[in-house]
Symmetry: C3
Subunit: 271 residues, 3 copies
């Protein structure tokens, strides 16, 4: 069976970055298959990429998972490769929190190496393109079956950069949530997962009062899908990743409610 | 020989949708190869995608052809997989007309199953991402050699959603055509195929009077290629899919003639 | 080992062009692997694509290298396939200079054929989509092991279209450079390679006076990486391809200095 490298980044599609990383992997590991998860992530923003990686990985074959969103490339942050407790997933990328949620999803990191001076790196290592010179080669070797321990210097797997997500809380009969990400349609994903919903007091098909910043108050419906509300109306729904989200059917909820990542949003069930 | 899944959608390149569908297929069918035909199709517009699929499929290996442009996801439309009369092509997608032109191109559908509750679907099926939860898994299993009949419930292959294209007609010495699609350069493809051209009265290298809405009248040349007319001038030509199209050399014909999908355009050969 | 075709173009991601070329190759050569280098190159501009191809190829496996940026498709330019002196790289594309820098990088072309009427072309050859009808099929056959000489008519390998890049020069104590390309962040790559730097008088960590057109004079720092200067400040640095470039940390150097491709920029080391 072909070994798989999945690849996620903020490199975009206008430049050669993604293609050259593919080339590097193909040259070092001709039989490895690369699956692009997404390269259109918002530039230099670690959190949406960390969430996307965590959400996508359960759908991918176990393998090597390369992720590069690296605003501090060339500066002090470490480059790492880690093994997860469950399924032996290997995560490769910068140690800036990008890998944290995915590692957590698979039971946490149980082995970690610093790969900034990996014997597999391409010399001379550029100061701006570690995807090509460090991360892709390490992913290629690991997918070819080389041992993680040979990728670089062992480091403490319990001491990697984390990524704190705000937790939802209950206050005055409202669920106090925060926006995690806003997509290009203005749909806002909240820090409320499927399991948090049990206690939320929200009931499917019932109205919800939304209280956003600057005194914005709007009525929404807790619905299954967009088509359950009229065009232009707000809905609260579980998105495809089972995360609570806010949208306007054929509209833009983020604009309507002035939501951005980290915005607070209160959801109050209406009788 | 590797089995092939081709994949076309309106998912775009900013989100994880395409990558996660790739992941699902790779996980269920590790040896299957996925060929992306296009994911930049206009969002939620069935007709341009149905035309693109019909145009592209003759160039692809026979296999499983996954297509997802699904404005009614989560609502009543059926999810289907069909086999074509010629070449045993297997088409997978929503039953909203998206597959109709491609099926027709290969002799029509001769077997069809409803796959909304396919045994191969991923549970829990989300309300918004059937690409991941229904269509990709079914494509993966079919490409792995499982029988179409096992994908779901048999349905009447002659009762699938169709897609009516306007037919060109002759009137007062003019060819009355309609715009099918407008690309990002403003080139407008018409509902006039290579075979319709025989009776059109148009002659290569000769001028054509174009009559668009709101009394817009412009002279164009029936040319082989853009370079046959001066920059800024209109031409009528057979595009790469052998469909009659209207363009401005280094300009924007749709803007010049106020053309949109379904706009009527009269072409009158000039002596 | 799987044979590889790398593929670079200005086809973009909104249309079917890239996907259909993939399909054609998969149909003719099922076991060949296609690696997309970049399809987001600026439309119809040969030089940035020729530079991108030259820069990327050393990182790819040796194989067939398909490149299509073809503003004169349908007109007089030849379609060619060439073999390089070093590594037996096979380059396929239009004879408009696109392949020139890559060929040079591998010791020059030693064998060349005109493929406009290749026996492997798809009939009828369209007037606008030679990627599908000529270049992709030729790449597929070559990657399958067919001989270059069978791809078409032999032509003089020393008589292919070249691509002249301006040379940097020294004048009045300044390094007179020209802009080769400007990326979407406004970073401008100059015609100064790693080897030209030795004589430049520039010293890492020292200030450089930049003199652009219209009397624009700005102080920059010759730095290793963006983080070496404060946000908003200009830097001169070696980019990931070891080419001298000008940028503003978190800003847009091209706008600040009114730089475009071919703009002259004088760099004067400051004491």
């Amino acid at each position: 069976m072909t070994e798989v490298v999945t690849f996620l980044s903020d490199y975009g599609y206008e430049d050669d970055f993604v293609g050259v990383c593919h080339a590097v992997i193909a040259k070092l590991a001709p039989d490895v298959r690369v699956i692009d998860l997404n390269h259109g992530l918002p530039r230099h923003q670690v959190r949406p990429a960390a969430l996307a990686l965590r959400n996508a990985l359960p759908y991918t074959p176990a393998g090597v998972h390369l992720a590069v969103v690296d605003p501090e490339v060339g500066a002090e942050r470490r480059a790492i490769a880690v093994r997860t407790a469950e399924e032996d997933r290997l995560l490769v990328g910068p140690d800036n929190g990008l890998l944290a949620l995915a590692a957590e999803r698979f039971g946490g990191a149980v082995e970690a190496v610093e790969i900034g001076r990996s014997p597999w790196r391409l010399e001379p290592v550029s100061h701006t393109f570690h995807g090509r010179d460090i991360f892709a080669p390490v992913a290629a070797y690991l997918a070819s079956g080389w041992a993680l321990a040979e990728a670089g210097e062992p480091i403490d797997a319990s001491d990697l950069a984390g990524l704190e997500l705000p937790r939802p809380r209950h206050e005055d009969g409202a669920l106090v949530a925060h926006v995690l990400t806003v997509d290009r349609f203005g749909n806002a994903a909240l820090n409320v997962g499927h399991d948090d919903l049990a206690d939320s007091g929200l009931r499917l098909g019932r109205p919800v009062l939304l209280e956003a910043g600057a005194g914005r108050r709007r009525r929404a419906q807790y619905a299954v899908t967009f088509a359950d509300v009229a065009p232009g109306e707000l809905l609260v729904y579980e998105d495809a990743w089972r995360t609570l989200a806010v949208a306007v059917n054929r509209g833009n909820a983020a604009r309507e409610l002035a939501l951005r990542p980290d915005s607070e949003l209160r959801l109050r069930p209406e009788e």
